[in-house]
Symmetry: C2
Subunit: 224 residues, 2 copies
């Protein structure tokens, strides 16, 4: 009988019925990111991750060892994503003020689009960066970032647009902080100030505010 041989790999994969290691792994990682960023590492349930991924719980241990291993994978992937997006910015092609504006608005928009990054950072810091410290793959991702900011600052100083002596790390922390605090704490802040801080128009307003704050700081003093 011609139908007795199992279906071709392609057909099987298309129907989604059979094994597909990459797909399974990716589904677990995605589900874990959602569950862990929604509820924290201790709040996340392994069974919930498996169910969300549509995968047997055993697979989770098969691919990632244990809950911590899964968490580290989520952490590495999430950090990797933002750092690679930043590198793609190509700020050095623009004039310094425009480049800085682009960096600030990019960072702000990234936080809006990726709330999971915010939660994960909160979770990892609550644990005093214990897992990040162990990870070998994350640290090297950050040199391009400060390097890029440094170049931008130097070109701005040379053109008389920016003040001298600005520390790139300090500046980056400020750019990130102005957006991060607002987004991460928008739920409590909305209650406290009686204003819906998640409204799209409100987010735009905040973006412009952050640009203004950063550019005002970078401006050289009048008596140069």
């Amino acid at each position: 009988m011609e139908g007795s041989t199992p279906k071709s790999r392609a057909a099987l994969r298309a129907s989604g019925v059979t094994r597909d290691p990459e797909r399974t792994r990716a589904a677990i990682l995605r589900a874990a990111t959602e569950e862990i960023t929604a509820k924290g590492l201790t709040g996340a349930r392994v069974d919930a991750i498996a169910e969300r991924a549509g995968v047997n719980k055993r697979m989770l241990y098969h691919y990632f060892g244990d809950k911590q291993g899964l968490y580290v994978a989520v952490l590495e992937e999430t950090y990797s994503a933002i750092r690679h997006a930043e590198i793609g910015l190509n700020l050095t092609e623009l004039d310094p003020a425009a480049g800085m504006r682009k960096l600030v608005l990019f960072t702000w928009q990234y936080f809006i689009d990726h709330p999971e990054f915010l939660s994960l950072l909160a979770t990892e810091n609550m644990n005093r960066a214990a897992y990040l410290k162990k990870s070998q793959s994350i640290r090297p991702l950050h040199q391009p970032l400060t390097g890029m900011i440094d170049v931008l600052l130097q070109r701005g100083v040379k053109q008389g647009l920016f003040r001298k002596g600005v520390d790139p790390v300090e500046l980056y922390i400020s750019i990130a902080g102005l957006g991060f605090f607002y987004m991460q704490n928008r739920h409590t802040l909305s209650v406290i100030f009686g204003e819906d801080l998640s409204a799209p128009k409100r987010l735009d307003k905040r973006g412009e505010h952050i640009v203004e704050v950063v550019l005002a700081y970078l401006k050289p003093s009048e008596n140069k």
Copy 2:
């Protein structure tokens, strides 16, 4: 026999052997704050809180109902503490620039001295402010804050020291954010940037940076 009557209340309280509702309640609340801010709401263990407080677990349910009730009590007390400290600042007696500097440095120092406030905010926002929304006692605490900032801004504008049209809420979020992000994420940021951001000197530097950023933003543009 003269010793047959129980010791006087004062003596008993002094020896710490007998009942003391207020003391027990306070010990539980303090232990809960430590445990919950260290490990998050889901990570905190009820048994650990009881042990840390030197109290039987049953007492925790006696005074606070359940784990959530205890969490709400921690939340209310912690918010109450910072808001009352802010009100005590009396900024309106100083000239606007000095007042603003005082507010910024106070906020920064508060975050340094009270890391538990930072963790608790992160925890509550991860839960989308579900408990804060229910609390009746926290919201009214915040009107004095924005009011105070508003007065400071108006006086600065009148004296030609500050720009016009600054939104007090936006400004407060920026002041808090510049310090909050640094402190809350100092563990991951230190790893990423290869620098110990918790060093006292580094903290002082950050404080001055935040003051500079805020005052630069508030400065009126040259062509007034």
